[in-house]
Amino acid sequence: MTDTDHAPTDVDAQFDHHSLAHAADPVCSYRALRESGGVTHSDNYGGYYVLSKYADIVAAARDHGTFSSQREFDGSGAGTGGLSIPPNPATRLSLDELDPPEWQRIRRSMNPILSPAAADRMKPGVAELTTFLIDQFIEAGAADLVLDLANPLPAIVTLDLIGIPRDGWERYADPIHKMVFTRRDQPEYKDVFDGTVWILDQLRELIALRRREPADDLVTYLMRHEASGTPFTDEEILELLFLIIGGGVDTTTALLANTFYYLSEHPEDRRRLQDDPALIDTACEEFLRAFTPVQALARTVTHDVTVRGVEMHAGDRVLLAWGSGNRDDDQFEDPDEVRIDRFPNRHAAFGIGIHRCLGSNLARVEYKHAVTEVLRRIPDFQVTPGGAHRYQRVGTVNGWEQMPVTFTPGRREGNRRTL
């Protein structure tokens, strides 16, 4: 079944990471790509390559000179390059869609905001919010772990970080949530696009406000901070804020949702985590690997390069399929087995190379609090059979739309009555 010469097949040419066919079984779909040569060319979206082998993905991610993240965005929705195939028409994603040296200037300013030390300082806030969110449903004996916990927790933590009021958090979370799986040809797309535009307008207003009235918050910090001497423009700050929202909201939700689903289906591993809480950290890395919340991101080739015998040329679009690399049996033993004590676990779920996820430390903090508290406070939770729905399309984020659960009711623990 494997060709020694990589010849494109009909199947290859039609590969579409956003398709329903791929979403029906993305693990199997990516495995087929790895087994048919590991470098696939699809005719969709104007044509793109897919790297599905861990070694190639990691090498490309490290070689940012050849595999550029740069997005040329003229504000009209057109433009070239960037992280998404097809491109996100609403905005550029700042850091994520820049190469050095511009990337460096922004990354250096942003690093301290989400460093391990910063994430540590956010722990009490995350803990209080987790307690509050669980308090809202714990007495009912029923809840939705996506809608009531996995979605609001990262969304509100992110809004707090930026300094946006908590009430109405759904208006931020909803379009971000839906943007990653709604195609342009679907009727729902207009609402998603409008919702995204609304978010950008809110952020523009906040930036304008802080120009007039500085505060002790992130926006003011960015306005004053001059990494390498050049102050950030309003447009740069806008892109950064949108990146923080886009990066922090839906992705961690997907990690938590997949974790809860897995633990509901695998009571033996749930028991192991409850009996030995020290396993929570390696389990986090394993859930990141096995479920890879951000499944794939794109690059643009800057000069001729050959990958595994396939010649690529300047301007070619390439999808780095992190989710595929994370299940490559050339890198991971029994990759389709979830082992909560797996070690080593050099997964690529937070990316590889300079664009390693800025929010990874905060993501791990949110995961640890949410999962530990769910296991402690509603230890017998069960997903309602047939009630949980994955995203219809998982080309970018491998997430869940909803996850109703039942459990033995418990008691409120926090003092907060409102968000």
Binding site: V58, R62, P112, S115, F343, P344, R346, I352, S360
Partner: protein, 72 residues
Amino acid sequence: MRVVVDSALCQGHTLCALAAPDLFGLGDEDGHSFALVDTVPAGLHEAARRAALSCPEGAIALAEGEPDETAR
């Protein structure tokens, strides 16, 4: 045994500090790793090996066979 973090390769995944918190510190600014010791104490050799294995960027090098506290 000596341990060295290649700062050009380190991207702040923090898995080394997870595997061997006594051997690796994380910078306040960027969360990148730095070795807390020049010479790895004998009791932490295994942790050092695990940390080197854990790095997705291959940024940690161990020089084994160096004099350590137990060598005479």
